[in-house]
Assembly symmetry: C2
Homo-oligomer: 107 residues x 2
């Protein structure tokens, strides 16, 4: 019997309070992830699907980058139909690492 799965597994999140400093720095020390964070910061919560970012990487690499952002407490994701939508966890991340987002979001 084949069980049809309409959706992939829901994304696993880590709250910023549980993120080590090295994980946060490592997540931000990458040009693609920095671009994702900056674009998310310029968008409304849940406005952007993963496919809406114009980054120079393939789908598997992009999925890896979003996993790193979730593990660093930077991004929360929700599956709605076939798409996965994102929000930047700005307030929570800022409470855990004061000033870090401000610094990386400077023009």
């Amino acid at each position: 019997m084949t069980v049809q799965r309409a959706h992939r597994a829901a994304p696993e999140h880590v709250h910023p309070d549980d993120v080590p400093l090295l994980t946060a720095l490592g997540a931000l020390a990458d040009p693609v992830r920095l671009q994702l964070v900056r674009e998310l910061a310029g968008s409304q919560d849940w406005e952007r699907s993963c496919g809406s970012f114009d980054v120079p990487v393939g789908k598997a690499a992009l999925s890896h980058h979003f996993a790193a952002l979730r593990a660093a407490g930077l991004v929360e994701q929700r599956d709605i139909g076939p798409k996965r939508f994102n929000r930047l966890r700005r307030a929570e991340f800022d409470a855990r690492f004061p000033g870090l987002l401000t610094l990386v979001l400077r023009p």
Copy 2:
């Protein structure tokens, strides 16, 4: 003819003003380099030689880590006799990346 070099080449430095954000984040996103920075922050300028840090890496790796810290504008070095001494470029780095050192030096 063999020319004897009494000293290795002087270390090359990059001023924090010329350091990209990604370079700074990448330099700090490493446990050994984070320990070096934290120990330097707790020492006087030029007090610590490279060999004085109790880090779990060999000499070549340690040299690589110090090169990464110089390239990120975090450390200035001076050769005195056979030893290389260090200082954290705290004020200059803080002017370039406000709050970042404060964040990584939190207990």
